[in-house]
Structures are given as structure tokens and as C-alpha cells.
Symmetry: C2
Subunit: 193 residues, 2 copies
DNA sequence: TTGACAATAGAACGGTCGTTCTATAATCTG
DNA sequence: CAGATTATAGAACGACCGTTCTATTGTCAA
């Protein structure tokens, strides 16, 4: 192993392995990945990567490739456009970990209709909904109205809950009976094309 | 091991291990996870889970817990609100895998300003940008205008590229010189609170 | 060309891996 | 209660794991 070598390329290979296998590679698999004939060479690659802080090990000695599933988070648009090639990145973000706090109570729902259009939630978007959380005023909730489930702002008027659409076309809804809230919207995801 | 046992609870434990360790547990770790004193018990748990299709193994015999990092995707809102406890779920989705096709060329940028508000992209949202892709008409791009980077629709007028905001406040921009496109927006992510 | 050093190969180690086998304990059945 | 059945324990296996050691090859400078 050279003192300096292609760290980016090496990490890329490990990342790809992790992405497709959902586990870190063994040293023998690393050997194969890099085309060596001796496991020892893989050992040195890993050693160098650990020394330079790009890799680490468990208390149990297992390789940990966290941060390798994430995507680079750069600064804001207006703040000037940083070059991702250079190391000006603010952070590395795993979208699942970033958005989902309680995986067991969270699920995705596809949005139909335009009742929340002014809140920037369009038809076809996916909303991340967390169940079992009591909504606060201003939260967007998924609630049952007339046997139908819809997205609405959760508001209060004279102590009673009111469902308000983010669209002038739809009037506020004051539930007559008990209001059934399916969950609170914690995030919106829109994929183009 | 009973013929029927708490599959949901078992999977939850394995899921939690995977989430925190970023690798599948060994049989000894499974034993510990479930409070047994013999690895053999862990072996039977795994066997049952594989038999019932909740777990599988590599060609190399390693445990694969894919789909365990994801979040349940249910039907659409208007289509009625399915109960996630029941097995009516449409799919299980890993957000990273769903949104990011080319991890190396993709990065996140935080949005400032309101130039794309009518496209449902608000200040504070994160946009997933893919570099090195030539924009098609109608794509949202991150482009350089007067030394500043902004989000705009990419349009063509008389064969020449035009940048159009999704906000009547901002007039279309016809670049005088070469248009520098930093990337194409492939997704929008908004997190509440 | 020779010597020094870096990079890779290859063999060998103890440890942990997944798995199987047999033994014991717990539970059920009649 | 007896006997059968099931669940767990515990020991043992070969295979592969990460690691270390030594040998070989390759590269460069003098």
C-alpha cells in the first residue's frame, strides 16, 4: 500500500458493496473487490482508511461504514453554490435517519387532491406520517372527515379542534363528533419524473 | 422455539440492532438480544424467520435484513386510510434508495428565497440535486445567474435556454452568455418542526 | 547493477462464525 | 401421573474471520 492512495475510489468501492449487500464486506471480499490475491493487502487498505478517519471499527472489531449511505449536504442555494468535489460540505445526511425519528410509528402516504396546495403539498407527493402523536396547533394532520381521510391543518377555535385546508376552495371543517386523527405529518417528499 | 411465536417482536429487535450497528447481528448477538443462553436458540429463531420469508441469506450465507431500514408505504389519502397494523401496506420503501439513483453525483441543498414557491418549493426545504445531467425542458435546475446560484425552471425559447421562476414576482431570465447549470433537482424534502 | 525500500503474496495463528448433535428441562396430553 | 413432545442448553465441528509474520516481487536512486 502506498502512503497516499486513491481513498475516494476505495471508499466508493466499499460504499457500493455496502449498498448492494446491506452489510460491510469481509477482508476477503475487500481483497476480491480490489483485485488483490492476498488478504493482507485488504488489511492495509482498511488500516489506512481507519488511520485517516474514513472508516472505523465496532467495539467488537467489526468494520463500520456508517455515513456511507448518506448524501452530501451542501450549503444553501443563495449562499453561493459550493463545489461538492471540494470538501466544503456541511454534513453528510442519511435521509431515512434524518426524517424518521420513530420508525415503527411512521409510514408514507401518497397525496391525492389539492387541499394542501398552499402549504406546498401537491398531488402525488409522499407525506411521512407519525402515528400516536397528539397534534399541536398548526401541525398538518391526516384526519378522518365524513368517512374520508384528508390532509388538513390542525387548528383550535374556542378550545375545539378545527381542520383547515391550505386552499381557499375548501372551507374549514368543524367536526361534529369526535375527531379521528390518523397521525401528524412530519415531512413531505416529492420525487420528480 | 414454538411453531408460532412473536415474529413482529423478533423482527423489531433485529431491525433495531441493524439500525444502530449498520450490520446484521451474529448468531451470538441474536442470542444475547433475546436473552437466551445458547446460540442454538438464536439459530432456531432465524430459521423460523427465514422459513416464513421475513429474512433471507446471502449466497455467502450471511443474514440479509434488507427492507428493514425502510418505512411502510400505504395507499393514498383519499383512497381511505389503511391501518398500518394490518398487512394492507403497498410496499416498504427506503427513502435513500427511492430518491437517490446516482449517489456519487447527488447532493442536498437547503433552499433560501421564494423563487420556486408556486412549484411547492419553500424556503428551508431541501432539494436533492443531481449533477452532470443535462436538463430537459420543464426540469427544475440549480443555475448560476449573475454570480448567484438560484433554483429555476429550465425552459427553451427560440432554441435558447430561459430560466423561469415559479413566482410572478420574478421575471424570466435569458442568460446573455453561457448558462451554468449546477444540476437538476430530482426531489424535494421538507421536514416539519 | 546493486542496495534500499515499498508493495504484494502467501502461510499460519487463534478466535469467532454458523451449524449440528446430543442432553436436559419445561410443557402438554391423555 | 406417565409418556410424548417441545424448548432450551451446552458441547463440538469445520469454515471463515481478522490479524500477524515472513517471503517474494517490484520500483527507484545511487
Amino acid at each position: 500500500m502506498p502512503r497516499t492512495f486513491d481513498r475516494a475510489g476505495a471508499l466508493k468501492k466499499l460504499r457500493e458493496f455496502y449498498r448492494s449487500h446491506h452489510r460491510p464486506p469481509s477482508f476477503d471480499e475487500i481483497r476480491e473487490l480490489f483485485g488483490y490475491r492476498s488478504k493482507n493487502s485488504a488489511f492495509w487498505i482498511v488500516r489506512r482508511l481507519i488511520e485517516s478517519g474514513f472508516l472505523r471499527k465496532d467495539p467488537k472489531g467489526k468494520l463500520v461504514l456508517d455515513q456511507l449511505t448518506g448524501v452530501k449536504l451542501l450549503g444553501s442555494v443563495a449562499a453561493g453554490f459550493p463545489n461538492p468535489a471540494e470538501e466544503e460540505l456541511v454534513d453528510t445526511l442519511n435521509l431515512d435517519e434524518y426524517l424518521i425519528r420513530h420508525p415503527e410509528q411512521t409510514f408514507l402516504v401518497k397525496v391525492t387532491g389539492d387541499s394542501m396546495i398552499d402549504a406546498g403539498i401537491h398531488e402525488g407527493d409522499l407525506v411521512l406520517v407519525e402515528r400516536g402523536r397528539s397534534p399541536k396547533e398548526g401541525d398538518i394532520v391526516i384526519a378522518q372527515v365524513d368517512r374520508e381521510w384528508t390532509l388538513k391543518y390542525y387548528q383550535k377555535k374556542a378550545g375545539r379542534p378545527v381542520l383547515v385546508a391550505a386552499n381557499v376552495k375548501y372551507p374549514p371543517i368543524v367536526p361534529r363528533e369526535e375527531l379521528t386523527v390518523g397521525g401528524v405529518v412530519v415531512a413531505v417528499v416529492r420525487k420528480y419524473k
